[in-house]
Symmetry: C2
Subunit: 337 residues, 2 copies
Amino acid sequence: MQQVADRAGVSIATVSFVVNGTKYVTPATTARVKAAMRDLKFRNNVVARALASRRTRIIALLFPTTGNRFSPTTSEFFMAAAERASERGYHLVLWPVDPAGDDLDDLVSGGLVDGVVLMEVRMDDPRVAKLSELDVPFTLIGRTRDSSGLPYVDIDFETTIEDSLDHLEELGHRQFGLVLEDLAGTPMDGYAPHLRVEATFERSIADRGLTGTVVYSESGSEGGREAARELLEAAPDVTAVLIMKDDSSAGLLVGLYAAGRRIPEDVSVLSIASSGAAGDQHYPRLSTMVAPGRELGTRAADALIEQLDGTSADLPHFLLPCVLRPAESTAAAPRSA
Amino acid sequence: MQQVADRAGVSIATVSFVVNGTKYVTPATTARVKAAMRDLKFRNNVVARALASRRTRIIALLFPTTGNRFSPTTSEFFMAAAERASERGYHLVLWPVDPAGDDLDDLVSGGLVDGVVLMEVRMDDPRVAKLSELDVPFTLIGRTRDSSGLPYVDIDFETTIEDSLDHLEELGHRQFGLVLEDLAGTPMDGYAPHLRVEATFERSIADRGLTGTVVYSESGSEGGREAARELLEAAPDVTAVLIMKDDSSAGLLVGLYAAGRRIPEDVSVLSIASSGAAGDQHYPRLSTMVAPGRELGTRAADALIEQLDGTSADLPHFLLPCVLRPAESTAAAPRSA
């Protein structure tokens, strides 16, 4: 450190301020210190600092390695959380982890990250138990079955589904379909958003005295086409379909067209927990319950950083519903319905 | 370390093998050592190891923080590189960085990563100069203007465009359009794939004695619709359009329909450097020059790890063209053309 100070022509204290970010140093001086560190190959300062302070100021957003689950909405969560972390002096990285959580131990015990944000949470997620056991600060984007003692931010799927049904019921629809991705037997089996959406749909449809049919689709466009066939076979009179799977929406539309249904004249389609940009990819543009990805990503970063900095002792429990963006795929139910 | 050894009932050497991964230890013993470390809150072993060996076995895939550029193809690069790194005993994380490269210094001088893979490379990318200056092992997914002295893997855009024109010329097309995203004035200005694609298109169209029009589109569906309007205004007789922007393809189709063009009867559309799954999202399904995302991601991880492990002294220069997947959006040129 003395060598760096000498070369940069500053005090050791100043070098320490730059290295540890503990006090304001002018950009010019900072640049001089950094140049000296570079010249002297003074590497590993963050590592050294981490060893001293047990802090790296790196937080990891854990994302499952399985399947191709990185959707535009995921990207929104990630970019918003990364921006927020950066504003608050942390660096957020996306860290692929095994869905069973077998590699969490290495990551967390390694001391390389100060805390983690967990995404794509299942109802009984083994990774949540592991994180609790490892005693590392964490926040969930999502909720397990019982999250009362855990810090989380999540989409309010219950309100989202009620609002979706309100919108379509007001348009005169009585016969509903719901398309969800079939995750049975995959590592993502028990994916909490699906279970909450399905349970709310079933209950609310019954409470409202409506008719509802749930179909599980394979992923991708082909899965959407097959879902349309299955749905129309099980419920030929369906006039309103909710779908929560971006990459199957196009196939669903094509499958409905292929069966002679016009959209929205014969069947209304509402995309759940997606984005306006994704809805605009379709013809007709999909009416969408827009996921608050940016706000939840920001809140998740805030919640974790407040734990790390000790600035808040509250356990964050933050739910935000999707917001309806009406477009061209929902309209009044056909008169015959 | 002695405490951990005592608690796990093993020698200090065994603890060291587990911590440093330098020798095979049975799963049962490994579990015992890890449990003891956990019980004793023996954290920071990776950090300590890094300080000792100057290695963390973490590599970072650098991705620009600007815009919403995380496409399904990007996701393929990332997931493939992460899987490959994991197979070879490294952990790959996605690290958002400023496109100007101003935060690279902190990341790399910090010693937290052993090496980096840089994506979304521009022709004169300031980040490449910074990485060279910082003396950190790196590999590019992409190429700068002169990459002869740099390790890279990239899509062979030149061959991709020639193959695209071959396919469409064989179908009788003579009037071509090319739609690229307008990045002028954004931090991604000078994005190398665009410049290579455009230069190859212009040159090859001239060599072949064909007619070609280039249109720059805003991003998203609306940008695609506007691109269709502009293209048809500039070249009303166009019968074949190449588009290299996933999120504007849907808008392009809608814009062509709106102007009374049927696809593929009147106009063929070919999506460049995208994926089959993305092509299947459209109606009709888009014929696609499929980006070799998985193979390039794997190769990029290999190239970096071989530098790090010193197992290869070769400078990797690996180019792979996109492969044509014909679908429903390309067909013989209309007779009148």
